[in-house]
């Protein structure tokens, strides 16, 4: 119990710290924040349930008014804004990422983590984000999705990086990969 708790809190802290890393600029001028990489890692390393709980902690402290989102954002205003779907979508994103790593037991762990990051951190996340925008902006599905499309290349990079990082972690500390432990 205590170990799960500390893992969840520490990964939540990692996601917050990644929000402080200055964003990388794509050639298209779209900023790529490292924060959602933290969400993918939480799912891929901790597994579905603990990964989702780590993200729930972050979402909860955003609601409490701590500026833990990239760019120092936070507070209840974020939940009324157009990006609310992406924030709440982090929870299923981490869960699905972890679930894929847990289910693809026979695949190399890096491949599973990369696939999980694409499915959870991109497909599920953008679906949630698009529904959020549809609700806040009163737009159709296509229009809302169009607003977030420029960010997808950056997230694909993050999925590859997540897969590679998990490979490294699995090589040097196989026991640390809780999504594959049992």
């Amino acid at each position: 119990m205590e170990r799960n708790f500390t893992l969840i809190v520490l990964f939540a802290a990692l996601i917050a710290v990644l929000g402080l890393v200055p964003p990388l600029m794509l050639p298209t001028g779209v900023p790529v924040s490292a924060q959602s990489l933290g969400v993918m890692l939480a799912g891929a390393v901790l597994g579905s349930k603990r990964g989702a709980l780590a993200v729930i902690v972050i979402v909860a402290v955003v609601a409490l008014g701590l500026p833990v989102l990239s760019g120092g954002r936070g507070g209840l205003g974020v939940f009324a804004g157009p990006t609310v779907g992406f924030l709440l979508g982090w929870i299923p994103a981490a869960f699905v990422t972890g679930l894929v790593v847990e289910k693809m037991r026979n695949a190399p762990v890096g491949v599973a983590a990369g696939a999980g990051a694409v499915l959870g951190g991109i497909v599920v996340l953008y679906l949630c984000g698009t529904f959020g925008m549809m609700a806040v902006l009163h737009k159709g599905f296509g229009a809302a999705l169009g607003l977030s499309l420029p960010f997808i290349p950056g997230d694909l990079i993050k999925a590859v990086v997540a897969g590679w990082l998990v490979t490294v972690i699995a090589r040097y500390r196989p026991s640390a990969l809780l999504s594959r432990a049992e």
Binding site: L10, L64, V68, G77, L137
Partner: protein, 213 residues
């Protein structure tokens, strides 16, 4: 790291947190149904008035919170104007900005300890399902403690990398970062257990003093 809440004791700070959250929820639900620019403008003006009552500091904090959405609101407004719907553009911009400003107002005027007290009250009924009542406060406290620790560690790893290479470290430092985090977690869990763990032991029955004749 500090909460976004403004220090101070304005009239809004003195209101109970539960009341502010309740009013906010009602206001948000109500605003979502408004389709006309005029009532939305009224809500906006009311919200602006709330910020004015906090003084210059309040206005500045509100503007900082709204800045990140301005580009997306601007984009939608341009789009709506291009579709030939200036009224829709106005309604949309007013609604998003008013709702975000209203929600931010609650965040700005509710100090963290008060929020924690509210959450602890709300969490009490879940104690019977095995949720330790200390958990929310402990989580926030540990998170606040570890964000600067992890930040310093990432900076140290970056320095160590820079001392050895002229290339940018990029995301590779996240590997040692994650590994050290997993090690920390074990030690931290041990420390927690040594201090009684998450679920404090049941209080013993008060020893009754025997009265001796």
């Amino acid at each position: 790291m500090l909460s976004l809440a403004l220090p101070g004791t304005s009239w809004a700070h003195r209101l109970p947190a539960g009341l502010k959250f309740g009013v906010l929820a009602v206001a948000m639900a109500g605003t979502a149904f408004l389709r006309d620019p005029l009532p939305l403008a009224a809500v906006g003006a009311l919200t602006a008035g709330l910020y004015l009552s906090l003084g210059r500091r309040g206005l500045r904090a509100g503007a900082t919170a709204l800045r990140p959405v301005l580009w997306i609101v601007g984009l939608i407004v341009i789009w709506q104007l291009w579709l030939g719907d200036p009224r829709g553009a106005l309604v949309l911009a007013l609604r998003i900005l008013a709702m975000m400003a209203l929600a931010t107002f609650v965040t700005l005027t509710t100090p963290l300890p008060e929020l924690m007290a509210m959450i602890e009250r709300l969490a009490t009924p879940f104690a019977r399902f095995g949720l330790p009542p200390r958990l929310p406060a402990l989580t926030v406290a540990m998170l606040l403690r570890f964000i600067p620790v992890l930040r310093a560690r990432l900076e140290m790893l970056t320095l160590a990398w820079r001392a050895r290479s002229r290339r940018r470290p990029g995301p590779r430092l996240l590997a040692p970062m994650t590994l050290s985090l997993l090690d920390d977690s074990d030690r931290l869990a041990e420390a927690l257990r040594a201090r009684g763990g998450l679920t404090p032991p049941r209080p013993h029955k008060k020893p009754t003093l025997e009265r001796r004749p």
